[in-house]
C-alpha cells in the first residue's frame, strides 16, 4: 500500500498508536480509581451497618475489624440461575428491633436504600428488612455467577462468632450509572485529545518532512537535466540544512564538471573545424576546373597538412580523455629525473639552435619513482614552449633538485612572458594567449602536462612577468 510507504503516514500511524495506548491507559486508570472510590464509600457504609446490626443483636462485634467478609456484587433478584425460595418453612422470626437511635441507617421502605437480613446458622433467615430483595435466595455468600448477568446490588455477609450471619446490602444502580457517565466523559475527553493530538502530529510531521520534500523536488529537477537548480537552504544549522548544503555543493561540483565536459567537447569540435574547412576549400577549388599536376600536388599537400593536424589533435584528445578517466596507468619505476631531463634537452637542442637559443642545465641526480616516458613528454613540451615563446638569441634554464622529499624541476626562459590575465588559465584546455590557431599548437600541451604530473601525485605551477620570461615549476613526490 502506498500509504505505508510514505514516511509521513508511517510516522503518523505510529504516533497515533502510541497516543491511543497512552490515552487508553490513562482513561482505564482514571476509571478504576473512580470505581474504587465509589465502591470504597459503599463498602464503608456496609461495614458500618454490619457493626450497627451486630450491636443491635447485643452480640460482641466481629473479631478484629468490623466485618470479616468481603463485599460482593449481586445481580437483581430473579436473575439467579437457581433462584428460589429456601424450600424450608422458616421458623417464626424472632422479634428483632433496631434500636431507635440506629433506625436512620435503614429506611426499610425504600428499595434503593440499605437493606439487611439476619440468619441463624445454616442460612436460615430469621429476620430481614422489608426492602431486602434477596431475602429468599439460597446462597448468602458470593458465588460464581454467569458473567453476562448485570450486577445491581452490593452486599456484605458477616458471620458472628455466635453463629448468626448478618447480611447488609444496597442497590448500586445510581453508582453504576454515575460510573457509566464517568466512563463516557473519559472516553469523549480521550477522543478529543486524540483528535487534537493527531491533528497536531500531522502538522508537526508535515513541517518536519517539508524540507525533505523540497530537497526531493529539487533533486527531481536536477535529474531531469537542469543542473542549475539548488535547494533553498533556510536553516543552515539544522540537520536537514546541513544535508541540503552538502547536496548543494555536490550539485555545484557536478554542474561545473558537466559544464567543463561540454566546453571541452565544443572546443574539440571547434578545433577540428578549421582543418576540415581547409580540406573542403582546397578540394572544392581544385575540382572546379582542370588543374596542372603541380596544382593538384599543392592541393594534396595542403590536405595532408590538414589531416595531420587533425590526427595530432585527435591523438591528444584521446590521451586527455584517458587521463581524465584515470585509465592511463603510470608505471612506478625508479628513475633519475635529471637523466630524463638531459635526454629531453638533447632532443630539442637542434630546434633551439635553429632559433639561436641557448639551454643551460643545472641538473643534479634526483631519484624519482614514476613513469619516466610520460614525464619526459612533460619536460619536452615545456622545453618546446620555452623555445617557441622565446626571443631570438634567448636563454632557457633547466634545473632539477631534491628538497624535503620533493623533486623540483624548474624551467625558465627569457621570452615574452605570459600576461597576468592569462596566467591563471594557461593550464586550461584549448587556452591560448593569442587567439590565433597558427603554429600547429593544439592548445592542449600544458593541459596534458598538468594531467600527467597530477597523475604522479605532483603539481605544476607557473610564474611570469611580462617581457621577463616565464618559469614553470614541476614538483614530484620522491617515494622510496
Amino acid at each position: 500500500m502506498k500509504i505505508f510507504k510514505s514516511i509521513k503516514w508511517r510516522l503518523q500511524i505510529w504516533y497515533g498508536l502510541i497516543l491511543v495506548v497512552m490515552l487508553a491507559g490513562f482513561g482505564f486508570t482514571a476509571y478504576q480509581l473512580e470505581r474504587g472510590r465509589v465502591f470504597g464509600r459503599i463498602d464503608d457504609e456496609l461495614h458500618r451497618r454490619v457493626g450497627v446490626l451486630a450491636n443491635a443483636l447485643r452480640r460482641p462485634p466481629p473479631r478484629g475489624q468490623i466485618g470479616n467478609g468481603q463485599p460482593f456484587d449481586r445481580p437483581p433478584p430473579g436473575q439467579f440461575p437457581d433462584n428460589g425460595p429456601l424450600g424450608q418453612n422458616p421458623r417464626p422470626p424472632r422479634e428483632f428491633h433496631l434500636p431507635p437511635e440506629d433506625a436512620h441507617f435503614f429506611d426499610t421502605n425504600d428499595p434503593n436504600e440499605f437493606y439487611y437480613s439476619i440468619s441463624a446458622g445454616y442460612g436460615k433467615i430469621v429476620w430481614h428488612s422489608d426492602n431486602d430483595p434477596n431475602y429468599d435466595i439460597k446462597f448468602l455468600l458470593a458465588m460464581s455467577v454467569n458473567g453476562s448477568l448485570k450486577l445491581t446490588h452490593r452486599e456484605i455477609v458477616n458471620v458472628l462468632p455466635s453463629g448468626e450471619a448478618i447480611r447488609v446490602g444496597c442497590s448500586i444502580k445510581p453508582e453504576l450509572h454515575e460510573l457509566k457517565i464517568t466512563a463516557l466523559k473519559l472516553a469523549s475527553f480521550g477522543g478529543i485529545i486524540l483528535f487534537i493530538g493527531l491533528a497536531g502530529g500531522w502538522w508537526l510531521v508535515a513541517r518536519a518532512i517539508k524540507p525533505v520534500e523540497d530537497i526531493s523536488a529539487t533533486a527531481v529537477k536536477i535529474s531531469a537535466g537542469d543542473l542549475s537548480q539548488r535547494i533553498n537552504v533556510a536553516e543552515a544549522e539544522s540537520e536537514l540544512g546541513k544535508l541540503a548544503s552538502v547536496l548543494n555543493s555536490t550539485f555545484a561540483r557536478l554542474d561545473a564538471a558537466f559544464a567543463q565536459q561540454k566546453q571541452f567537447a565544443s572546443d574539440a569540435a571547434h578545433e577540428l573545424r578549421t582543418p576540415v574547412s581547409v580540406m573542403l576549400t582546397q578540394t572544392q577549388t581544385a575540382l572546379n576546373r582542370e588543374r596542372s599536376p603541380a596544382e593538384y600536388r599543392e592541393t594534396l599537400e595542403a590536405c595532408q597538412r590538414a589531416a595531420q593536424r587533425m590526427r595530432k589533435l585527435i591523438g591528444t584528445l584521446l590521451e586527455l580523455a584517458r587521463l581524465d578517466a584515470g585509465q592511463e596507468q603510470m608505471r612506478q619505476l625508479k628513475f633519475d629525473l635529471s637523466q630524463t631531463a638531459r635526454s629531453c634537452v638533447e632532443l630539442v637542442r637542434p630546434i633551439a639552435d635553429e632559433h639561436g637559443i641557448k639551454i643551460h642545465c643545472e641538473l643534479s641526480t634526483v631519484d624519482c619513482v614514476g613513469d619516466s616516458e610520460r614525464l619526459a613528454q612533460v619536460i619536452t613540451n615545456l622545453l618546446t614552449n620555452a623555445i617557441q615563446y622565446n626571443k631570438p638569441g634567448g636563454e632557457i634554464r633547466i634545473a632539477a633538485q631534491s628538497r624535503d622529499g620533493t623533486a623540483i624541476l624548474t624551467l625558465s626562459d627569457t621570452g615574452v612572458g605570459i600576461p597576468a590575465e592569462d596566467l591563471p588559465h594557461v593550464f586550461k584546455r584549448f587556452y591560448r594567449g593569442d587567439k590565433s590557431r597558427t603554429g600547429g599548437n593544439t592548445g592542449l600541451g600544458l593541459a596534458i602536462s598538468k594531467a600527467i604530473v597530477e597523475a604522479h601525485g605532483g603539481a605544476i605551477e607557473v610564474s611570469s612577468e611580462e617581457d621577463a620570461g616565464a618559469t614553470f615549476t614541476v614538483r614530484l613526490p620522491v617515494t622510496s
Binding site: 573545424r273 574547412s277 576549400t281 582546397q282 572544392q284 577549388t285 595542403a302 597538412r305 590565433s436 597558427t438
Partner: protein, 216 residues
C-alpha cells in the same frame, strides 16, 4: 569586384583567394588582424571575408574599428556556431555569418547576395536595355544571345551595372577590378572597356571625359 580575405590559416587563405579569383573577383589577403584592419580601412572593398580568431587583433575588434569609418559589407567566418556568437557578430556590424567548415558554393552565394544588397538590388538579374546580366550565373545576354566575356570584362560590366546612373571613376574601377598585386597599367582598363563595347554595342558604356564611365 574587389574582396579582402582576413584569415590566419595559410592553406585556407590561399585556396579561398584562388577560388575567389577564379570567380572573377580581385582578391587581397591579410593573415593577421592588424594587417586586415589596415587594408580594410585603406581601400573601398566590395566585401570583406573576416575570420574571427586572428592573431594580434581578433575579428570582433577589426569589425568594431572598421564600422567607425566604413560600411563595407563584412562576412564573418568562424568556427563558433553557438547562436550567442552569431548574435554578437551580427550586432557588432557583421552583415552575414558563415560557420566553418563551409561549402565554397554557399560562401560564394552569400558573397554575391551581400554585394547585391549593398547595391540595393533585390534580384540577380540586371536589365539594361538589350543587355541582361545574371550575376549568379555570371553570364551576359545581348539581344537574348549569350555573349562571351572574360572574367575581368564581366567584372567591369557588373560593377558599372551595379552603379547604374552614377559616374564611375577610373580610380574606382582600378580599385575594384584589380588587386594590390597587379600593377595598374593605365591602358589595361581602356582595353577592357573597348572590348566590352565591341561585344555589347558602342553605346553601352558612355565616357564622361575627365570623370570616368557611366551606364545610362
Amino acid at each position: 569586384m574587389r574582396i579582402l580575405i582576413v584569415e590566419d590559416e595559410p592553406d585556407l587563405l590561399r585556396s579561398l583567394a584562388q577560388a575567389l579569383r577564379e570567380e572573377g573577383y580581385a582578391v587581397d589577403t591579410a593573415n593577421n588582424g592588424e594587417d586586415g584592419l589596415f587594408n580594410a580601412e585603406g581601400c573601398d572593398y566590395d566585401a570583406i571575408v573576416l575570420d574571427v580568431m586572428l592573431p594580434k587583433m581578433d575579428g570582433w575588434e577589426i569589425l568594431k574599428r572598421l564600422r567607425k569609418t566604413k560600411k563595407t559589407p563584412v562576412l564573418m567566418l568562424t568556427a563558433r556556431d553557438q547562436s550567442r556568437d552569431r548574435v554578437r557578430g551580427l550586432d557588432t556590424g557583421a552583415d552575414d555569418y558563415v560557420v566553418k567548415p563551409f561549402d565554397l558554393s554557399e560562401l560564394f552565394a552569400r558573397l554575391r547576395a551581400l554585394i547585391r544588397r549593398c547595391a540595393n538590388k533585390t534580384t540577380n538579374v540586371i536589365e539594361l536595355g538589350d543587355v541582361k546580366i545574371d550575376t549568379a550565373a555570371r553570364n551576359v545576354l545581348h539581344k537574348e544571345k549569350p555573349v562571351e566575356l572574360t572574367a575581368r570584362e564581366y567584372a567591369l560590366v557588373e560593377f558599372i551595372a551595379l552603379h547604374r546612373g552614377e559616374v564611375v571613376t577610373r580610380t574606382q574601377l582600378y580599385e575594384h577590378l584589380f588587386d594590390e598585386n597587379e600593377s595598374s597599367l593605365s591602358n589595361l582598363l581602356d582595353v577592357h572597356v573597348s572590348n566590352v563595347r565591341k561585344k555589347l554595342g558602342a553605346e553601352f558604356i558612355t565616357t564622361r571625359r575627365g570623370h570616368g564611365y557611366c551606364i545610362e
